[in-house]
């Protein structure tokens, strides 16, 4: 087996910070598109946030959405162009704060597209403010003494929230800090895309990632931090699976 850059990505260097798992998540999605031969058929809805950088790396068709509105844009696109493989990639601020209404609406309608949700508990692009998923006690530029639930509430669990809805087909969370987590995530992305191509409805894949820059940790330290802090709160696993027989 030859290890190489996915052909769905342009042969350019990444603008993501060193050690950032956004590039890992991007690569996993691109690998799946390569495997499935879906590069040309795919439409990537790009959000606002660090993931906006993806507009420079992706080889396939791509449309940029307003902050939080990727599920609405994907709804309009997919409903009028149902043969395409449509996926929105959203960060935690995009999906779990400003875009809560749009993700809930799209999931509740059972829209036939896939949302990849990258959760690294911070607003990376704007410099590390508190995100809806920021952990209790986690220091950010807007919670200098650590997130206090008395004034800022608790980290939002998107998989658990969406799993209360009838319509979604597949909802699962994976942590990208181990090879095992990455492989499982890749399988799940493939399953989500397969379900979509079979018109089996809405799928949501949450990827737990890091932000070495705004967490103030080295990339290696973030791996341990995730084991100790992130994973116990955001428990990986399958939260809803209407089509367990589909691999």
């Amino acid at each position: 087996m030859e290890y190489q850059r996915p052909s769905s990505l342009k042969p350019t260097s990444s603008g993501f910070c060193p050690g950032c798992m956004h590039s890992l998540a991007t690569k996993l999605i691109a690998d799946v598109l390569d495997d499935m031969g879906q590069q040309e058929n795919s439409v990537h809805v790009v959000p606002v946030g660090c993931a906006t950088l993806n507009l420079a790396y992706w080889k396939g068709d791509l449309v940029g959405a307003a902050h939080g509105r990727a599920p609405a844009v994907a709804t309009g696109f997919k409903r009028t162009n149902p043969d395409r493989l449509v996926f929105a990639y959203q960060g935690d601020g995009d999906c779990a704060a400003i875009g809560l209404a749009e993700i809930m609406g799209a999931a509740n309608r059972g829209e036939n597209f896939t949302v990849i949700f990258f959760n690294n508990q911070t607003y990376g692009m704007t410099g590390g403010q508190m995100a809806p998923t920021t952990l209790i006690g986690q220091k950010t530029t807007t919670t200098r003494d650590g997130r206090d639930p008395l004034t800022t509430g608790y980290p939002l669990k998107m998989c658990e929230l969406l799993a209360t809805l009838e319509a979604p087909s597949f909802i699962a969370r994976f942590a990208l800090n181990t090879p095992k987590g990455c492989l499982e995530a890749k399988k799940a992305i493939k399953k989500a895309f397969t379900l979509q191509l079979e018109n089996k409805g809405f799928s949501f894949i949450e990827l737990l990632g890091n932000c070495p820059t705004n967490w103030g940790l080295t990339p290696l330290q973030t791996l341990d931090y995730m084991n100790t802090n992130t994973i116990p709160y955001f428990v990986p696993g399958v939260y809803k699976d209407k089509y367990a027989e589909v691999k």
């Binding site: 040309e40 058929n41 439409v43 809805v45 790009v46 906006t52 507009l55 992706w58 080889k59 396939g60 068709d61 791509l62 449309v63 940029g64 959405a65 307003a66 509105r69 609405a72 844009v73 994907a74 709804t75 309009g76 696109f77 997919k78 409903r79 009028t80 162009n81 395409r84 209404a101 749009e102 809930m104 609406g105 309608r109």
Partner: protein, 357 residues
């Protein structure tokens, strides 16, 4: 095709279908509800899609997505909802995607009132969202005109790769009138538009990026071309009705329902020998500047801006063309209060009498 009796909002909805619109997303708000209601059953009949969005914000962004797939798409709302759509309209302009936005306007500001008003003129013509873009704004005064401007709206939107607004007051949205519908246009979904991500089976093309985000230098170039487009509109696309202006000593300026009531008052004043005319902008943007520039200011003793808006919103655009060559009076109602039978007649009469003194 024979004329049929139809409600204003429904006439716009049917005209959109005839124009090839195959996607609509919207959120309930009075006084435009008949548009989504009609399209909820009508669009599926012609293979189109209706989505009731979770908000106005979501709805306009769904329209953005549908436009990106090359589908003629529309959303409608009223004042408060148009404010929410401002984000999406700015993104449509930024990404250069065509779409049609209908505002069946009501009293404002805030939740305002649900009764007809013309209090969104400045929002529509000056800043329909952040970032300093403009859109063509059509203001029909009859339901037939509403049908015609809706039917043609995508021709402008696609020519310019820019959203188009139809601004019609709740009065016209709610009345019934005879209308005649044009032929059904077949939607062009062949993926031949430069802006859409449609792919024709078997055709090889390079990937397309539809982006609302630009590097600085490119954004300046893009904004310059937007400016040039606005200048082209002003030169080529102004639509206006000039009514009894030739000998007019007093010129009323009004659009939409106000223009209809004003016309009745003008005919009454004419019967009494008063030389009154009317400039009725059909495009509020581009504004019919030339109609004011070519007036004979030796003859014109006064201009009367008649609007359902207090303070008057069109006044400044008129003043920029009149340039002090005649006094500009405002006669306005607002908040959902309409002109009564004698209101405009009396107001203009008073100005004439005052001017004669």
């Amino acid at each position: 095709m024979a004329k049929i009796l139809m409600k204003g909002n429904e006439a716009i909805a049917e005209a959109a279908v005839r124009a090839g619109c195959r996607f609509f997303a919207g959120y309930p708000i009075t006084p435009q509800n008949e548009i989504p209601e009609y399209l909820s059953w009508r669009l599926p009949e012609v293979g189109g899609v209706f989505v009731q969005g979770e908000s106005e914000v979501a709805s306009v962004n769904m329209v953005y997505g549908a436009a990106a797939s090359g589908c003629r798409a529309m959303t409608s709302s009223s004042g408060p909802g148009i404010s929410l759509k401002a984000e999406g309209i700015s993104y449509l302009a930024g990404t250069q995607l065509p779409a049609v936005i209908v505002n069946i306007s009501r009293g404002g500001p805030g939740l305002g009132s649900i009764q007809p008003a013309q209090q969104d003129y400045l929002q529509a013509t000056k800043a329909l969202g952040h970032g300093g873009f403009r859109v063509m704004v059509f203001a029909p005064a009859t339901l037939q005109e509403a049908v015609d401007v809706t039917y043609n709206a995508w021709e402008y939107a696609e020519r310019d790769r820019n959203p188009v607004m139809i601004l019609m007051d709740g009065c016209l949205g709610s009345i019934m009138e005879q209308v005649e519908f044009p032929e059904m246009k077949e939607p062009d979904r062949k993926g031949t538009h430069a802006w859409d991500l449609n792919r024709v089976e078997g055709e090889k093309r390079s990937a397309r990026l539809l982006l609302p985000y630009f590097p600085e230098a490119l954004l300046e170039v893009k904004n310059k071309s937007h400016k040039a487009m606005i200048e082209r509109w002003q030169k080529n696309d102004v639509q206006v009705e000039e009514f009894m202006l030739e000998d007019a000593e007093y010129v009323a300026v009004a659009y939409g329902i106000s223009a209809r009531v004003a016309k009745e008052a003008i005919l009454r004043l004419r019967d009494e020998g008063h030389k009154v005319g009317l400039i009725r902008p059909i495009t509020l943007f581009p504004f019919p500047k030339e109609s004011f520039q070519k007036l004979n200011y030796e003859q014109v003793k006064g201009i009367i801006d008649i609007e359902l808006a207090i303070p008057a919103q069109m006044h400044d655009d008129i003043a920029l063309e009149v340039l002090g060559r005649a006094p500009i009076h405002d006669y306005c109602r607002s908040g959902g209060m309409l002109f009564d039978d004698d209101g405009i007649y009396n107001a203009v009469k008073k100005i004439i009498d005052g001017g004669a003194k």
